[in-house]
């Protein structure tokens, strides 16, 4: 069979098998487009998961969308009917689990909507942080932050706060493994981890989450474990940064217009020397203890 024919044959098969999906709809696929038509109502589907274990609850939870209800399956999956455009789901955990009731906001439910993983747990905390542009370090307003079934938007300061986030003080093995998803117009969507932060007084502060502009993204520079800025910036370009070990020069970096230098060296004791024509800065002694340790050493030319 010629490749193009095989491809087409596969597409036809999908039409047949697509009907075996989650129910209520048909899927039609051509070589490059997929159209899903759902009939018979609006449904939210996803998983209810336990932040303590990383898996489903030991007993089924009840998921409600208005007057509609559904029970979670053994793996935590649920599919609940909803009024068209519904934007909230309520999860009632069984009394034996004892996590109480949880309310989640969702995208409007029209047709079948995957609402993702709804995490519940023995504790509820706030998760907060700030979204910044990695190139400018400026806050990004209007970025959407999703975590553990919670969703929020950054304010003009780039800050966000997600409330009622599932948590357990017993272990962070699962909590840190849940991705913090950050998306914003003209930025590459990125995932972050809450690690190594833990809840203090009911608050998990994850600090700055840097996202990269689509239009201004650049390949990364070279790897480094000693770096710094040369001040003043106006005098920085052309500065030669020398790295010496036992008096022998082992690295050299010529500073560009961004005023920064980068050195990549094995663990050890080093001397950094800065020179730009008649200008120089005092030598700096540094000790790198581990290869994955990153030191910042700024210098001011005089």
């Amino acid at each position: 069979m010629k490749p193009i024919l095989a491809l087409f044959a596969v597409a036809v098969l999908i039409i047949v098998w697509g009907c075996g999906g989650a129910g209520g709809g048909t899927t039609t696929t051509t070589n490059n487009t997929t159209t899903t038509t759902t009939t018979g109502g609006n449904f939210g589907e996803g998983y209810v998961l336990d932040v303590r274990t990383g898996g489903p609850l030991a007993q089924p939870a009840t998921v409600a969308a208005g007057s509609f209800q559904a029970q979670t399956e053994p793996d935590g999956f649920f599919r609940v009917e909803a009024n068209q455009g519904a934007t909230s789901l309520n999860v009632s955990t069984p009394s034996t689990v004892g996590y109480g009731n949880w309310s989640f906001s969702t995208d409007p439910i029209v047709g079948t909507v995957d609402v993702g993983d709804l995490w519940v747990g023995p504790e509820r905390v706030q998760l907060q942080g700030r979204v910044i542009d990695v190139l400018t370090n400026q806050p990004v307003a209007g970025a959407v932050v999703k975590f553990a079934g919670r969703m929020g938007t950054t304010n003009s300061s780039g800050r966000f706060t997600l409330s009622e986030v599932a948590y357990t003080s017993q272990t962070q093995a699962t909590f840190w493994g849940i991705p913090i998803l950050v998306s914003a117009a003209t930025y590459v969507s990125s995932e972050f981890s809450a690690e190594p932060n833990v809840a203090i007084n009911g608050m998990v502060e994850v600090g700055d989450l840097g996202i990269t502009p689509i239009g201004d993204d650049t390949p990364p520079g070279i790897p480094f474990n000693i770096w710094g800025r040369i001040n003043p910036l106006s005098a920085a370009p052309g500065t030669t940064v020398r790295c010496l070990q036992n008096g022998t020069e082992i690295r050299q970096f010529t500073v560009g217009s961004d005023g920064r230098y980068f050195l990549w060296v094995p663990p050890g004791m080093y001397t950094l020397r800065f020179q730009n024509g008649p200008l120089s800065a005092p030598d700096v002694q540094v000790e790198l203890e581990k290869p994955n340790q990153v030191l910042r050493v700024d210098a001011t030319l005089q």
């Binding site: 991705p179 790897p223 990549w264």
Partner: protein, 916 residues
């Protein structure tokens, strides 16, 4: 003073009364200053440990039940060694109460009291020991320390009977005595198997191996072997029902059975099978295993079972050496030397395992890699469904994803995320079995789909390649679809597998010939890369040596393409046969200083230090992590992964050999995460862009050029070392992927993407590579596209500028392309803000292009050449921003610039009648 046991976060595990898994599979229980008689803290720790394992076992059993693999009658076990520690140090090994090495164990049971077993149960255990002892000693060697071992009933303490998972061994109970603490199992067969396991741990005594892969692996393999020798167990178990129960116990927690090849994945490796931080984390009640440690235990048992198939007395040989030389128990080099000496002692000089010298064989078993590697790990596990298939179900597999990150100290972070499995039929068209299998939700490190694969080839078997990309990790397995069990037939095959790299010719056929027992042969045709057969032979069913050949037959003439020896376990055998897969790829003359390398092979070693031949103290390896927007510096960069690019800093010029395996003559994939990715060709062939497809989520694959601007950035880059300073360099745009080189590729899709590299020729139904998709013309047209190239000595960089009907003054990922900030090396760019490799504006825009050169060496001459790339570029004027007369350049002209600083900047303006 009694200290209560506390289960605390990993960071504070060292507190009194806490438990941890230290080195090897040893459960360490800190008893603080209490040296005396109250060891309830230790008991409580182990109870909790066993409870976790029991829950795991129940879940695992449910999974296997769903797969039709096991019954619900079987209890699991995970006996372990428990060391009591005081102030962080192990209590001294027991003073032997009898003769040391060579003396037998003497079991001592309590006759009464809470630690006494029911008489009947005790009788079973005593009977097991008395019957098995000779066999244990024959296979495993005599105990390292003979004498009294107490055997105590801890069933009541463990509490919830359903939660009881197994017994454990205590080398020193705090009073100088070793103890086996054992529960009461419902099934005597379960008790027998698990008691053998505990006895073997007692045989090792205080002389156990430092790594789980060795200690636990050898014990489990020996348990498998002993349990299957009818004479080694009391006569009461010598009946079909008991034998079946024993086999099920072994299948559940000692042996991975037919699926060794599929599970032989790098993620298994490490010093410890259970991550220290997960010791006290409850296991999820769903299908998740809460990590992959049970699979590790099974794989370790299976790996060593392969050795025992050829050398049944291997454990005795290696143990006798290890008891005399402690270095063998802690140093892998010493262990490998001793292991080769052991098989030589049994089988004669030059003995091999599965046809390989011991060290080579050992290196190919990822479960036996004791080197802790950090970073993301992804393991794909597959289980074929062989029963209760619907009549129209052609082939069904459970596909599990296990996704975690290994951190310092062997801790594991259970990750969550979404994966979009890609199913490739033999010609590498993407197949969508059913909508619910297009997406795998991973939570707490675990996700699963259960696709039903279609009958694509009129009833013939076929090979399905399954790629599971998660973030920038990708796991692949090859499944023999239709070759194991079909809903239309009651027949379940017991020899099956896939073949890749076997090049057929017109009129030829490919087959697999299995030789087993005393030379019995069976030849099975390979259909679309897969084969399966039922061999109704008791000899075949037994564990034993086999030889498997892949044969091409043309006009009755056979050519052997591959010969592989496999020591099979009991029952079925599944194999993943790769013709011409072993390669040593050379990174020729890797220069002193910075290089960006690519890894085209699946390296056998997990140690970059070993592969690069650079001491750990000097090792500099880094891989960019787009999720963290910074480099992962070794050791965080982990083991070298096929298809990844890395920066390395070599201390001297050197040719580096990368021994490993490839997937020959077949497309191989690499996963991209959003942002910049360091990748390479995951194969030893250079690959042009026309032979690369890009897959995003549940969409059909598109060509590389079609993906530009939607899921991929406009350009991808390679690193060029600076001619004058080897620790700096430039990013230059690339136009193809060379094997062994690393590249920066930018992924624009928020869900990531998968690059699939097609070889220049393919086998199977495909006559050649996928039809190269001609780059789709940009919508619109260029007025011109020009290039400036700056050259000095061997260093050359370039940047482009132009006008296009679809261009804008802003950034358009289909036309414009970015460059990195200064790396300290020579770099050319356009743009006033962030540097661009290519800046294209609209027809009506009238910009002054800003052209910048960085990384110049003061006082040195540089050649600047102006070239017309598309349409006829106009003559231009070059205005130095620092002042001075403009230079007029025609396309094709070259001038010499003398650097008077490290940076030069120009305004580029079309001469009259040009761009303005």
């Amino acid at each position: 003073m009694r200290r209560s046991l506390r289960f605390l976060a990993p960071a504070v595990l060292v507190l009194a009364g806490a438990v941890s898994f230290g080195q090897s599979n040893v459960l360490e229980v800190e008893i603080g200053s209490a040296r005396g008689g109250d060891f309830s803290a230790a008991d409580a720790a182990v109870r909790e440990f066993n409870k976790d394992l029991a829950r795991l076992s129940r879940n695992y059993r449910l999974t296997n039940q769903a797969a039709g693999l096991t019954s619900d009658r079987i209890q699991f076990s995970m006996p372990s060694v428990v060391w009591l520690t005081q102030n962080g140090k192990r209590l001294a090994p027991p003073e032997p109460s009898g003769p040391r090495n060579g003396a037998p164990l003497v079991l001592q049971f309590d006759n009464s009291g809470s630690r006494a077993f029911p008489a009947e149960y005790r009788q079973v255990l005593e009977s097991v020991f008395n019957t098995a002892q000779t066999t244990l000693t024959a296979i495993f060697g005599p105990p390292s320390v003979g004498g009294v071992v107490r055997v105590l009933n801890f069933d009541a303490d463990i509490g919830d009977r359903d939660a009881v998972a197994g017994g454990y061994y205590v080398p020193n109970n705090g009073m100088g005595q070793p103890e086996i603490r054992f529960p009461v199992y419902n099934a005597p067969e379960t008790a027998a198997v698990n008691f053998i396991h505990c006895l073997l741990l007692a045989y090792l005594g205080p002389s156990g191996y430092e790594y789980d892969a060795l200690s636990e692996g050898l014990v489990r393999a020996t348990t498998i072997r002993v349990s299957r020798i009818p004479a080694a167990l009391p006569a009461q178990f010598n009946n079909p029902a008991s034998r079946e129960t024993i086999e099920l116990v072994l299948a559940n927690s000692y042996d991975v059975g037919a699926f060794y090849d599929w599970n032989n994945q790098r993620a298994l490796g490490g010093r410890r099978f259970i991550a220290p931080n997960l010791r006290n984390v409850p296991l999820p009640p769903g299908g998740s295993l809460g990590g992959i440690f049970l699979l590790r235990y099974q794989m370790a048992g299976s790996a060593w079972q392969k050795v025992l198939v050829e050398y049944p007395s291997f454990p005795a040989e290696i143990n006798s050496r290890a008891y005399l030389n402690p270095a063998i128990r802690t140093d892998i080099g010493a262990f490998l030397t001793a292991a080769q000496a052991s098989i030589d002692a049994i089988g004669g000089s030059g003995s091999t395992v599965e046809g390989l010298p011991f060290a080579d064989w050992f290196a190919r078993q990822y479960i036996l890699q004791t080197y802790d590697t950090l970073g993301l790990k992804l393991l794909m596990r597959v289980i074929p469904l062989t029963s209760e298939l619907g009549p129209n179900e052609f082939s069904v597999f459970i596909i599990e994803g296990n996704y975690f990150e290994t951190r310092a100290g062997g801790n594991e972070l259970l990750l969550s995320g979404t994966a979009f499995p890609i199913f490739w039929e033999p010609s590498f068209n993407r197949v969508f079995p059913s909508t619910q299998d297009d997406r795998m939700t991973i939570s707490g490190a675990y996700g699963a789909v259960v696709p039903t694969f279609p009958n694509l080839f009129s009833g013939s078997n076929y090979r399905m390649a399954v790629d599971l990309p998660v973030a920038d990790r990708l796991a692949r397995v090859y499944l023999p679809v239709g070759a194991i069990a079909r809903g239309s037939s009651a027949k379940v095959n017991n020899f099956y597998g896939t073949v890749i790299g076997a090049e057929n010719v017109p009129g030829g056929s490919i087959s697999v010939r299995l030789t087993y027992g005393s030379g019995q042969n069976v030849t099975i045709p390979v259909q679309n890369g897969a084969f399966g057969e039922r061999i109704d032979s008791e000899v075949y069913n037994l564990p034993g040596r086999t030889e498997i050949r892949v044969i091409r037959t043309v006009s009755g003439v056979e050519t052997t393409l591959l010969t592989r020896r496999v020591n099979k376990a009991l029952g079925a055998l599944g194999v993943d046969l790769k013709v011409d897969a072993n390669r040593v790829f050379q990174l020729v003359d890797l220069p002193l200083g910075l290089s960006m390398i690519g890894v085209p092979v699946q390296t056998l070693s997990s140690s970059p230090s070993e592969l690069l031949n650079v001491p750990v103290s000097q090792l500099l390896v880094a891989r960019y992590n787009a999720a963290r927007l910074q480099y992962d510096l070794w050791p965080d960069s982990g083991a070298f992964e096929r298809g990844f690019g890395y920066f390395v800093r070599m201390p001297a010029r050197q040719t580096v050999n990368l021994p490993g395996t490839v997937d020959p003559r077949i497309p191989v994939s690499v996963a991209l995460r959003p942002g910049w990715n360091m990748v390479s060709v995951p194969n030893v062939q250079n690959t042009s862009l026309g032979n690369i497809t890009v897959t995003v989520g549940t969409a059909f694959p598109v060509s590389f050029s079609d993906a530009i601007g939607s899921s991929l950035g406009a350009d991808f880059f390679e690193f060029q070392q600076d001619g004058a300073n080897p620790d700096t360099g430039s990013m230059i745009p690339a136009n193809s992927f060379q094997a062994g080189r690393g590249y920066f590729v930018r992924c624009l899709s928020s869900t990531g993407a998968t690059l699939t590299f097609f070889p220049s020729g393919m086998v199977g139904n495909r006559a050649g590579p996928p039809p190269p998709v001609a780059p789709e013309p940009e919508p619109g047209f260029y007025r011109f596209l020009g290039e400036f190239r700056v050259t000095r000595a061997k260093t050359s960089v370039s940047a482009q500028f132009g006008q296009h009907s679809a261009g804008t003054m802003g950034f358009d990922p289909r036309l414009d392309s970015q460059l990195p900030p200064g790396l300290g090396g020579l770099q050319a760019s356009f743009g006033a803000g962030n540097p661009q490799f290519r800046q294209v504006v609209g027809m009506k825009d009238k910009p002054d292009f800003i052209f910048k050169i960085e990384g110049l060496h003061n006082g040195k001459p540089y050649q600047l050449r102006y070239t017309s790339l598309v349409s006829k570029a106009p003559p231009i004027q070059l205005f130095p921003i620092s002042g001075g007369q403009p230079i007029i350049l025609q396309p094709g002209q070259e001038i010499t610039l003398m650097a008077n600083g490290t940076t030069a900047q120009f305004i580029v303006r079309a001469a009259s009648g040009g761009t303005r």
